[in-house]
């Protein structure tokens, strides 16, 4: 049979899916081994044990200077910034997105504006944010908002426009006013797509979070990896990168699970990654 027509069993798919990760691990372990054969003090490719030890110290040994468990304080600080930033973006996306998508006058007024705003590279407004909001928490959160909200507004507005006109008309013939149509038809129809917009928005949100923390911060996951970079501490940077990836992955899966649970009607067709 042609290879394009052969199906993959569930178990084989699991094995095949794990294969690249295992291969990467082996390649790393071998490369690290040979580097350390030449120079036992090598810092660029630390051994898996060294990384494990560094991660353990960050997670369970109180910092000598502050007495904090660095991994957890960093994680909580970063997730707080990410959560508040995405929360603000989501509220903006919902209110503006529905207004733009549903009311022609608002669309004519704001759609071109939002479209141009969303094209500003967010990192270029970072100095402005620092000047306006100071070097505190607000600036870091605002960077996430500036980086994600415009795109999420556009995605939400498009989701509203994509609602079949028939459904809106049907609601009108059932006696629904504008506000009632928003809360009973438009909002429930776009919420699953809003979750998708949040999941996609989280990708740039992480970038801006780490950037903001790298530039101005005294805590957070991004602050930590840029801090220890000065000491070539790859044994901590690499586990932190993996940890950030795991967090991002878990949040993404959590949102998908939430969407599946709360908007069962949307997932009946069996779409969505």
């Amino acid at each position: 049979m042609r290879i394009t027509n052969r199906s993959v069993s569930t178990r084989l798919a699991l094995v095949l899916g794990a294969l690249p990760c295992i291969l990467l691990g082996i390649v790393y372990a071998v490369a690290s081994h040979f580097r350390r054969l030449e120079n036992p003090a090598d810092k660029i490719l630390p051994s898996l044990e060294a990384m494990g030890a560094a991660f353990w110290r960050a997670a369970f040994v109180p910092d000598r200077r502050s007495g904090d468990l660095l991994l957890w304080t960093d994680t909580i600080d970063s997730l707080f910034r990410l959560g508040v930033g995405m929360g603000v973006s989501t509220l903006i996306a919902l209110s503006l997105g529905i207004a733009i998508g549903f009311i022609p006058h608002v669309r004519a007024t704001l759609a071109p504006f939002v479209a141009s705003i969303s094209l500003i590279p967010p990192i270029t407004v970072l100095p402005i944010l620092f000047i306006v909001f100071g070097l505190g928490e607000t600036s870091r959160i605002m960077l996430i908002v500036v980086g994600t909200a415009p795109v999420m507004v556009r995605a939400t507005a498009q989701a509203v426009i994509d609602i079949p006109r028939e459904l809106i008309i049907k609601a009108e013939t059932l006696g629904a006013g504008v506000w009632q149509t928003v809360v009973r038809v438009v909002l429930p129809q776009i919420l699953p797509k809003l979750v998708t917009a949040i999941r996609l928005g989280l990708v740039p949100a992480w970038i801006f979070l780490i950037s903001a923390e790298a530039i101005v911060s005294t805590s957070g996951l991004g602050y930590r990896i840029f801090l220890v970079r000065r000491f070539l501490a790859m044994d901590l940077i690499l586990p932190y990168v993996v940890w950030i990836t795991v967090l991002a992955y878990l949040i993404d899966r959590l949102l998908l699970a939430l969407s599946r649970r709360a908007f069962r009607w949307h997932h009946i067709g069996g779409d969505s990654l």
Partner: protein, 261 residues
């Protein structure tokens, strides 16, 4: 059936840009009529229905409903069933049916809770039985067959007791067997509620079977070099005796210029 004129269309024109779609449509329909509308694709029969719904506005001419000009936007006095997207996919069967009552009772949220909601749900029990969806009451539309979805759509469209029910090729996507069931359902509902129905269909047999009056939309004038030069109008207006056993005329007789595909 009363003899009062329910709907009066006078000298209706509709064009998109410079392209006329409908021209000089004149019609007066009595209350209680089951009016079927047939015509070739693109002859403007769906446009006509959308104007009856106020989804589109006439370029010229007037439509009077019970002597009053039609409102500028869709209102509860005209129910609609589309071929697709007629029911709300995020609501279960029961929720779809009680939506109109919820909107009525709760201006702010359009939603009822607790006992009030339960009461509304119980109130649609009989209706669920009539449309054969009792067992499927808690399913979402995506879990229903096409015929079940359209039965739900019809029942939902009737929940505000509209004066006029508009049907835009409602059975076009259904299997022939299921279609026959739907015919029985719609005829029963029509007789029970003595309303006026306008139904667009591309199935002439269906138009004859269901209607008490059949309108044929077609172009009177035809320019072979410029097919879009003229709009369509009502070329045949046939009263149909409900108990007639005569066979319908052939499509060729009704559409001399371009046979129905």
């Amino acid at each position: 059936m009363s003899d009062t004129v329910c709907l009066r269309v006078t000298n209706l024109f509709k064009s998109y840009g410079t392209m006329p779609v409908l021209e000089r449509v004149n019609l007066s329909v009595e209350a209680g009529t089951f009016c079927t509308i047939v015509g070739a694709s693109g002859c403007g029969k769906s446009t006509f229905l959308r104007m009856l719904l106020s989804q589109e506005r006439p370029t010229r001419g007037t439509i009077l409903l019970d002597g009053e000009p039609l409102p500028d936007e869709p209102t509860p006095d005209r129910g609609i069933v589309f071929q697709r997207y007629s029911v709300f996919p995020h609501l279960t069967v029961t929720e779809n049916l009680i939506l109109a009552a919820e909107l009525d009772a709760s201006p702010g949220l359009g939603r009822l809770f607790g006992a009030a909601r339960k009461k509304r749900k119980e109130a649609v029990d009989n209706l669920l039985e009539t449309i054969g969806l009792k067992a499927a009451r808690d399913r979402y539309p995506a879990q229903l067959s096409g015929g079940m979805q359209q039965r739900l759509a019809i029942a939902q469209a009737l929940s505000k007791k509209p004066k006029i029910l508009l049907l835009d090729e409602p059975f076009g996507a259904l299997d022939p067997g299921i279609r026959a069931d739907m015919h029985t359902l719609i005829l029963d509902l029509w007789q029970d509620r003595s309303m006026t129905i306008f139904m667009v269909t591309h199935d002439i047999q269906e138009a004859f079977k269901l209607g008490t009056r059949m309108l044929v939309f077609d172009k009177l004038r035809h320019d072979p070099h410029q097919p879009d030069a003229y709009g369509a109008t009502i070329t045949y207006d046939l009263p149909l005796a409900k108990d007639s056993s005569r066979s319908p005329p052939s499509a060729e007789a009704l559409f001399p210029a371009h046979p129905v595909s």
